[in-house]
Symmetry: C2
Subunit: 350 residues, 2 copies
């Protein structure tokens, strides 16, 4: 047992102390110090002695050594493997990341971020090859996704944000896009609209397909199905504008857009064509981003608590790491139709 002053001199702030050094300071063996840190059986008296030293040195375990010995780092991966333009022009991923980071900051030692700068196959190789991460959170947007396939095939602890129907054993956080799209489409039908167009999201993504499915389900139920009312968009403003131009020409009286960014483009096109919202054409989006409220008129849309999905995914991964056994964990978070003037304003408003 050495006095604090001496201890400061020995290590200062420069050299990080090791278990061996802490052991020497507390007069016990390295194994005992390790047990104190990791919660092994230690006599109360010695534990207190060790803890005192621990605090004085503000000891941090060497992650590399810990991984080598035990296989666990406390570090998790977060994979947003998407086109950069999609990743950064829509607040969706920022919100998701925010939620994830919030929870992980409390529960883990750190977060490695993987973006779409490499092929999915290469990203997969690296993540598994590193043998450093305890688990990953991955956005699973695409129908075809070798990265998700690879993770599912391995037994690497994984939580998906979004999922495909064939991911049977996956742990995931998702929302019911089909149901939500059905609800908003039905809302438009109930308002008396009949020629309801849909601008889809990127067609290779799960969310785009699901929202389309929900739209079709509601339209079919009302006997309104018409293939001409569907335009393939890309989840962004530009495609929203282009698709809306087409739909305006086809004389729709409402448009359900696959997300809010698309709806902004639809506003542009509808305005440019000299039509009024919602009097001539009602518009609905999806996400309920901040901008939905700023639009004129404010946008009817489906709120999906993106940040909370991130939090939930992070929490789920932590649970899996704490208790790897058990059946797949699944969390279907609620959505909420937020009705604003873009569908109910104007003369035709209900």
């Amino acid at each position: 047992m050495v006095a604090l002053s001496q201890l400061q001199i020995i290590w200062g702030c420069v050299l990080a102390p090791t278990l061996d050094e802490l052991a020497a300071l507390s007069g016990v063996s390295r194994a005992t110090v390790s047990r104190v840190i990791n919660g092994g059986p230690v006599a109360e008296a010695t534990r207190r002695r060790v803890i005192a030293v621990l605090e004085q040195t503000n000891y941090r375990p060497n992650v590399a050594a810990r991984v080598l010995a035990s296989g666990r780092s406390g570090i998790v991966g977060v994979v947003f493997h998407l086109e950069p333009r999609l990743l950064f022009r829509d607040p969706y991923f920022s919100l998701l990341l925010h939620g994830v980071a919030e929870v992980l900051a409390q529960e883990t030692a750190g977060m490695m971020l993987w973006l779409g700068n490499r092929t999915k196959q290469e990203t997969l190789d690296r993540i598994l090859g590193l043998r450093l991460l305890d688990g990953v959170i991955v956005t699973a947007d695409h129908l075809e996704d070798p990265l998700v396939d690879g993770l599912m095939a391995s037994d690497f602890p994984t939580v998906l944000v979004g999922h495909r129907r064939e991911d049977l054993t996956a742990n995931y956080v998702d929302v019911d896009n089909i149901q939500a799209a059905d609800v908003v489409t039905t809302h438009l039908i109930n308002l008396g609209r009949r020629r309801i167009g849909h601008i889809t999201g990127t067609r290779s993504t799960v969310t785009a397909e699901d929202r389309l499915t929900g739209y079709l389900r509601a339209m079919k139920r009302a006997g309104l199905t018409d293939e001409d009312l569907i335009a393939d968009g890309d989840f962004n403003r530009e495609s929203g504008r282009e698709c809306a131009e087409v739909l305006v020409d086809r004389e729709v009286d409402a448009i359900f857009c696959a997300n809010d960014a698309t709806a902004v483009g639809a506003y542009d096109a509808i305005r440019a064509a000299g039509r009024r919202i919602p009097d001539d054409i009602a518009v609905a989006g999806f996400d309920d981003l901040d901008l939905a409220l700023d639009l004129d008129p404010p946008l009817t849309t489906t709120r999906q608590y993106i940040e909370r999905q991130g939090e939930e995914a992070a929490r789920m991964l932590c649970q899996i790491l704490a208790d790897p056994e058990g059946s797949p964990r699944r969390s279907l978070l609620p959505t909420e139709l937020v009705i604003r003037q873009s569908t109910t304003g104007g003369a035709l408003g209900s």
Copy 2:
């Protein structure tokens, strides 16, 4: 030397091969395999034999073991330690991250992301305590910043994005905010504006102070200084609106906003007060985000190539890691005044 088929059977895709196993397969020692991988002196014939095995097994070194032995992981930290609302409501950081990720993806094994979920002191402790990162890229916005102070005090390889004048030994990427603010203010003066207001950014940040300094310099030179024309904002739309309301009351004929988000708020307030842009009040922003072009009228602003700053910072860090010696590296990137109708449109336009 073992045939490929046998090799597959031995490890399948499940177990990651180790140096020892590769050595056994190629009929050389572990040390030689290591030399092949890390570029040591190896006879050409044996090198080829080893490389063949390397490719067949798609071997990935164990990062933890490598760190323990050599101290280098190939992983760098990226620290955006800011209020979450600032971090995610302005595309600035997304663009920066994009640039950083692009370069790091090619040069390094990975990227750990640190956001403002903990105190700066704690973030600093963790980063240094991990002993896993080769270096960090840090946004250095604040005048008072224990995180940056701590990194400067240590000899940990660090690149700052933005810097303070007292960071004498720092490696940094920055733009000349003072000069850029001077230029835009002078632009307004040259247009004949006399009561030119300034909405500052968050006053504890370097960029806010520097842009204010540049504004004051230009105003002083023109003999126009007036303390009443300065309103303290917060780099966001809301504060832009509030500050612009005040400035409109004080009968400014122009407003230089500390960033584009602030300018959007200023537009709101000016419109609400029934004034025209730029006829009654000219407006200029800073950043040249996409939205600057979408505003009506399009916003005069200073373009600062944010993404390129991220790329440059990443490149600089890689250089430092490759060659730790040498004087501090500094990179002052150019800015460009982009003149649009928010200053030169309307009847008064030059």
